[in-house]
């Protein structure tokens, strides 16, 4: 049990570190958001599960609630931020033509 908790905590920290590296290395805001959200959600969840297993009580209601809340809100917040950063005129690297231009009313070239 103690090894499982340590492994989960270590892998959660590793995922958070990878997310932060992606935040530095990736070229445009949408890709950075992708890195921060997916790896960040997974890392935080693994870390919380590891911490929960390390305590005396195996199921901690606060940690469970935090995990559930993070799993719901982090992707939602990322979607909001992605939409907002697209509408605020982010350049899309590596994409030939912009398929979203006609879909959203506030297109980048106004």
């Amino acid at each position: 049990m103690i090894w499982l908790a340590a492994t989960l905590m270590a892998s959660g920290t590793a995922f958070l570190l990878i997310a932060a590296v992606g935040l530095i290395r990736l070229p445009d805001p949408l890709q950075r958001m992708h890195s921060a959200t997916k790896a960040g959600t997974l890392g935080t969840t693994l870390l919380l599960i590891g911490v929960m297993l390390s305590g005396e009580t195996a199921i901690d209601p606060t940690a469970m609630l935090t995990i559930a809340f993070l799993l719901v809100t982090l992707p939602l917040g990322a979607q909001l931020l992605g939409r907002a950063s697209y509408l605020s005129g982010t350049k899309l690297d590596g994409l030939g033509e912009d398929p979203l231009r006609k879909e959203l009313d506030g297109d980048p070239d106004g």
């Binding site: 905590m9 932060a20 530095i24 390390s54 931020l81």
Partner: protein, 91 residues
């Protein structure tokens, strides 16, 4: 047999490196969207720090701090996204 509090303490130092990287993006970020994304990441890291501190000290109260940060994170992200979108619509 390993001491979990020592493991958690060591992992806190590793997580500080991620904090530095995200903070650099926050300071440097060319656009406003980059800064908001970095802020989102920084709050997720803060939840991680709260969880690790809870494991390192053996006090469950730090998990409550993590829950509070997670709650604030969503409201802040939604507000900043709305701000960014509004800013674009009405320059």
């Amino acid at each position: 047999m390993i001491a979990l509090s020592a493991v958690a303490g060591t992992l806190t130092v590793v997580l500080a490196l991620a904090l530095v990287l995200a903070g650099w993006r926050m300071v440097r970020g060319p656009t406003l969207a980059d800064r908001f994304i970095a802020l989102d990441m920084l709050t997720a890291l803060a939840v991680g720090f709260a969880a690790l501190t809870s494991a390192a000290t053996g006090r469950g109260e730090f998990l409550d701090i993590g829950l509070g940060l997670a709650l604030i994170n969503f409201v802040a992200t939604a507000a900043f996204a709305a701000f960014l979108e509004h800013k674009r619509r009405k320059p």
